[in-house]
Symmetry: C2
């Protein structure tokens, strides 16, 4: 692979697989490019909720808006420029409030079940 630059306009956002919520994700780099990581953008409508047990290590960088992420250990609130690290195996519930959110994400290894 060569140097690449991506903007949100490059992402083909699709409803997060297996979910009913208005949460849309789009991979920009994944297993098709042969590298080790998946890169993409996620857009969360206001007042959405998504529960998931992490199949991979997933790093979300909040670009706009706000997210809360809950586990059995507690809840964190992340706003613009904050980083949320969701390690493999964690059971998380991601929620948005009235703002919704835009995120960038990087996963290792590839988030194949969700994005293949």
């Amino acid at each position: 692979m060569k140097l690449r630059k991506f903007t949100i306009a490059d992402a083909s956002l699709e409803r997060s697989p297996g979910q009913e919520a208005d949460i849309f994700v789009g991979n920009l780099v994944d297993e098709r490019q042969g590298g080790p990581i998946t890169i993409g953008y996620g857009r969360y409508a206001p007042h959405q909720s998504l529960a998931e047990t992490m199949a991979v290590d997933d790093v979300m960088i909040v670009l706009e808006g706000r997210l809360t992420v809950s586990t059995e250990a507690g809840t964190i609130v992340a706003g613009a420029s904050d980083i949320v690290y969701m390690p493999k195996g964690e059971a998380v519930t991601i929620r948005t409030d009235e703002e919704g959110a835009l995120t960038a994400y990087v996963t290792y290894p590839h988030w194949q079940p969700a994005h293949a």
Copy 2:
């Protein structure tokens, strides 16, 4: 590891190892936590330049300001919310203009020579 949230205030920024430029990086997650990836923030003063051959796959998310990244194949310009993917082995020169830049980064595997 458990769910973690980071803000720029959590990072202990230090001059990028082996460089003279006013470019400061701070790891928030690295090999010490036992996971597969390194996560951190980078702050670039205005009018700086850093040349580096990538030892790892490195994803930069621009949070503020603007960066240009050049390889022998050309130059990209990245602003807020843009993602720059610098694959292992690429020889890159990262430059800032009068704005400087704030970035979040995720590397796989750990960026050990620079951050250990």
